[in-house]
Symmetry: C2
Subunit: 688 residues, 2 copies
């Protein structure tokens, strides 16, 4: 079945509603871009005050256009937008782009207007891109559509780019002649009232002209839906995301810019890592990585050979390998023998191979050919600083000519003339990199995509859970008995405890040593309130401590209802296993160093609770405490299966129970006998 | 007194020994650069086979030049280098640059030749730059000397750049027309046989034409001397360092490139932080920061206002503030009132201020003027993405015209034509930034320099120490008694312990519980060898444990001499205070999380042992454990004075005793009663 997005990206006909005859106005400039780039379909302009603009016929109304319109671009003033949308729907146009701004991003009145428009769209079979966006591009020669304000002429590639910010789109288009970024398709989605990143993910995955999907996003409209595509293994193309709004100030700025509530960056980072989605730190990294996927084979491993005519830049390249999970390849003895015949005796045949400034095109080509043949090499980075005596172009083109299944990434630091020359004369026009630090980032990203995630043991929502009902207490915490019941149901290793009044404590037979904890509806952060005392050894001590606690709490006006006593266990490690619900991505799970200093130790890792077995292993291994408990310095590993089960079972709990917003096992205590117990279960949070 | 470096950078006359008439040879191209840039002094070429080259007279020998030569540039083949240097010395030339390569960087024979040359220099009053370097530049209009291979014509600035790598120098020069980097002075120091970063630091500090000092370095020749300039408060200009060879692979590559042994990157990072030297992560950051110092006033604080016509790029800017220790300024109500009169009602008068794509030059100028007047704002970042309807140049120049003591950093994302236009037409030619992420790095670096380090309580080498003599045991560890004596002398809070044979243990009266440790010359990592048993409660347990230890060690063929017993203390925190000697920077000190998992916790900080009181506070506060022990979650701080004394006294010890290479107090134990004891002193290491 044809997707409506085919009408967006491959329209046979476009109309621009609000085309203008006034140069420098958006309505004029967008029309000019369409004309200048040479759109291959039919273009109808709607403007009641003109007969033609830039040689295209103007129609007074939408209905007066005498042929079918696939794609409508609407730039009328905002008071005419609703009417225009209705007319387009009447015209049976399904693909609508609303450029006009002044909606949700401007406050409440705008948000209301946006809602009304969305309702009109939802009641039809049309879709809406925008409002507050800057257009669409398909650079394919058979389409040649640049319907944006920026009249640049993008070169054709197979990269698709969706930008939530029009300005980021404009900045990228402004820079095309310098950055050599090539497009397959580009779309600016603005406020994402209707069409959002999820629609485009689905479309571009199926679109044969797209090989790499890139996003600039400031929010995820429906993160749980976004990750569902990956959970269901429907996405086979590389996806790269640059996320604006990472820090608390940035998130605040993004949310006032887009009107959307943001997830914390730790959540976004966890999600992208978990599902093999590549995160770019800036535009440079994003488009370099996209070029990496478009122009180069993916390496089979992480061993990199570096060849250069210039010590310093090669060292800067080598410095970037480690932090990008790459290794400097150990060249084979045969390779070194072969290299010795080419490399100047004062150069180096070790990695990085140094041809010295005198290294010429033939030497560069021969050395690169030898390096890609070495079994110990997965990828080559060739770094060339243009010296006066060797012209850059023959060096670069010689290396571009090498046929190999291994990628060769070229860094070039030439005189400025080179770039024009390369664009004009290169046969391959393969992407080059400008900074010695660039390729390592790209290789790391290619490998991240290569290392496909397995689905083994993926946690799914369990319908049978309906047998087990939580009490309905919206906005409340569960009481300790409910917590215990829930933990037992999910086989969480909680320590056996009892709850008593002070009178009962007096009567009971108790096995010392014990821990005493205050219980009360308002007593959440027990440690901060001094509501926990460890290692009480006698009955008289226990009663004295309990009495003091009652006194202390009453002096703070906090009601202390009862006491909880647990056996006192000798701690070797304190872990944390926690779960919470993110507003966009849904159920999340945490693991790491626990105890009362958890925020200060900052040694926790997060994932979506839709975990696989592999995810659980990765979580444990990516924390410091996770490495330590598995045995370092000659120690034995603790029983790691118990930790894994705790993570898995808690994940299952939060996936099953949409009414739980937060629950922490902290500490999950490892005793000196390597036994594992959850000592304190932070009560499951408010229901929705 | 005139410095010899005045003859390097301000020579009245130059001779090029090895000038060539063959285009594309180094000897020709360097001569061409000198001519083309318009050197204002006299130029003599030495070449016995030519009468003139590029219009300059050639002399057959150095001695035949009939006037004094201030600066000699030597590019003869390496077999003629020694003779040439001798002739120059005979000619009384003091400033010599040896371009020729093939010395230490190529192996042992080269290193020998370099040593011979260095001896010739040392026996004269001449200095030598190089070998294996690429020349020198002084861009001052009164000098106009470009004596490098790269015939670019640098614009004049007040930044001085010293590059250990010729290729990095060449790459920077190649890029000048695109990056708009301006020079005061540039020098490529190559192998640094004689002249090195220390000489240039001293010279540039005093040179009136230099305001910012930048380095690309792969090693510090004499780090202790380098930091001495800072300890002695002799450096008042900003110093920026880009260090190649950060990772283990990079350090290896750098050391094979330069033949120098590298300090670990943790050491380099600690030193640069401690002495307010700015570390750049790449060339872009280094030169952006240099431009920051040259072109902008330093902000008084870290509160940044952002103004933009483009939401997305502003968000990317805001995202970079936090990690660069900057805050988004809270604009005053008066500012917002004033902004409301200028900003479009659908834009934003909150920070980031959004003028929307229609924002024109007058609005940008007015908003920036208002922002710099706000008391809550220390610096402004103005981000402009060029839309079709507003030309960039008037916007940028309008803002450049603002007179203020607060800096305004402009990010511009224009069509490529803009840059040429700006270079040609801008009156101020103030530096602009290309990426929204750039200015935050620069502001952070300006502030790092601004926050001058105080010298209060600086540790100095103490001569009176000679009263206290360590046993002379080169390459050996001290025995426990010697360690105890040393620790007592330096008032380190060591736990009282006793050393006994197993027979003596049997006889002694002992206060239990105790810790038992194996003692022997080869027993260093006690825990790994299971040579430590904690919390022994009875005499019979003690003897049993000791007997088992003797048995276990003898089965491993390790001689166990005696046993050490200490009171068993109840641990609340385990700290580490350690000291070691770096091959370049000398005595270093460490603080952080201790205990046996110290490497896995990775929570330690280093500094040069020439500490100030402020340094000690910073060390404690920059570790997680340092924050925790000062009281979090309602806990009391431990007695932090004891920790500070331990750091200070151990620093004094390693500063005084050059014969100590390494000593660790690990763990420095904080008991549950908040008492602090050094339980295990890792024996001071081999003497030199």
């Amino acid at each position: 079945m044809e997707s409506v997005f085919d009408q967006y990206f491959y329209p046979d006909s476009i109309c621009i509603v609000g085309a203008s005859s006034k140069p420098k106005s958006l309505g004029y400039e967008l029309t000019k871009s369409v004309k200048q780039y040479g759109y291959t379909g039919d273009l109808a302009l709607v403007n009641p005050k003109a007969d033609e603009i830039l040689g295209f016929k103007c129609y007074p109304t939408i209905s007066s256009i005498d042929y079918r319109i696939d794609l409508a671009i609407v730039m009328v003033p905002k008071q005419f937008v609703e009417e225009t949308i209705k007319e387009l729907i009447a015209k049976k146009t399904q693909a609508i782009i609303l450029i006009t701004a002044g909606f949700k991003e401007t406050g409440e009145a705008g948000a209301e207007a946006e809602k009304r428009i969305l309702q009109i769209i939802r009641d039809s079979n049309a879709r809406l891109v925008g409002p507050n966006c800057m257009g669409i591009i398909n650079a394919l020669p058979s389409v040649k559509m640049n319907a944006t304000f920026v009249a640049e002429e993008p070169k054709t590639g197979s990269m698709a780019f969706c930008s939530q910010s029009g300005a980021i789109g404009a900045a990228v288009l402004n820079s095309l002649r310098e950055t050599d970024i090539r497009f397959g398709q580009f779309i600016s989605v603005g406020n994402k009232a209707d069409v959002n990143e999820n629609d485009l993910l689905e479309y571009w995955q199926d679109c044969k002209d797209v090989s790499v999907i890139t996003y600039y996003l400031e929010s995820f409209v429906d993160g749980e839906k976004f990750i569902k595509y990956f959970i269901d293994d429907r996405i086979t193309k590389p996806v790269i995301v640059l996320k604006g709004g990472r820090t608390s100030s940035g998130i605040k700025a993004a949310s006032s810019h887009t009107g959307a509530l943001g997830s914390s960056d730790k959540v976004v980072d966890a999600i992208l890592t978990q599902f093999g989605i590549i995160r770019a730190d800036d535009l440079n990294d994003m488009f370099n990585t996209a070029k990496g996927f478009e122009d180069f084979p993916t390496p089979k491993g992480n061993r990199v050979a570096v060849v250069t005519n210039a010590g310093g830049p090669a060292i800067l390249t080598v410095d970037t390998l480690e932090k990008n999970n790459l290794a400097l390849a150990e060249l084979s003895p045969e390779t070194k023998v072969k290299l010795k015949e080419i490399v100047h005796p004062e150069g180096s045949v070790n990695n990085p191979v140094d041809l010295l400034p005198g290294g010429i095109a033939e030497q560069f080509k021969a050395v690169n050919e030898i390096l890609v043949q070495d079994e110990n090499v997965d990828a080559v980075i060739s770094v060339f600083v243009e010296p006066i005596m060797v012209k850059a172009l023959p060096v670069i083109e010689g290396i571009n000519d090498i046929k190999s299944e291994k990628p060769i990434f070229q860094v070039v630091m030439p005189l400025p003339e080179f770039w024009q020359e390369y664009r004009a004369e290169s046969k391959t026009k393969r992407s080059l990199f400008r900074r010695p630090e660039d390729p390592a980032v790209v290789i790391n990203n290619l490998l991240k995509f290569q290392n496909k995630k397995s689905n083994t043991g993926r946690i799914k929502s369990d319908e049978s859970v309906n047998d087990f009902k939580l009490n309905e207490k919206p906005g409340k915490f569960l009481n300790p008995n409910e917590v215990a019941e829930l933990c037992n149901h999910y086989k969480l290793p909680i320590v056996k405890d009892e709850i008593h009044s002070i009178q009962e404590l007096n009567k009971r037979e108790i096995h010392f040593p014990v821990v005493l904890k205050a219980v009360g509806e308002k007593i959440i952060h027990k440690t901060d309130l001094k509501g926990v005392v460890l290692n009480i050894k006698t009955k008289s001590d226990l009663i004295k401590t309990a009495e003091k606690m009652i006194w202390d709490f009453s002096s703070k006006n906090i009601q202390l209802d009862k006491f909880l006593i647990q056996p006192y266990l000798k701690t070797k490690f304190e872990l944390l296993v926690g779960a919470f619900r993110d507003p966009s991505f849904g159920p999340m799970i945490m693991f790491g160093s626990g105890g009362k200093y958890v925020e200060y130790l900052d040694d926790t890792v997060m994932r979506s609770a839709y975990l696989t077995e592999n995810d659980i292993d990765e979580m444990i291994n990516s924390t410091k405490v996770g490495k330590i408990i598995q045995g370092v310095r000659g120690e034995e590993s603790i029983d790691i299966k118990v930790v894994k089960s705790a993570i898995k079972n808690l994940a299952q709990m939060i996936v099953n129970h949409k009414e739980i917003t937060e629950v922490d096992l902290n500490p999950l205590l490892v005793t000196s006998e390597n036994k594992i117990f959850a000592v304190d279960v932070f009560p499951p949070g408010p229901k929705i």
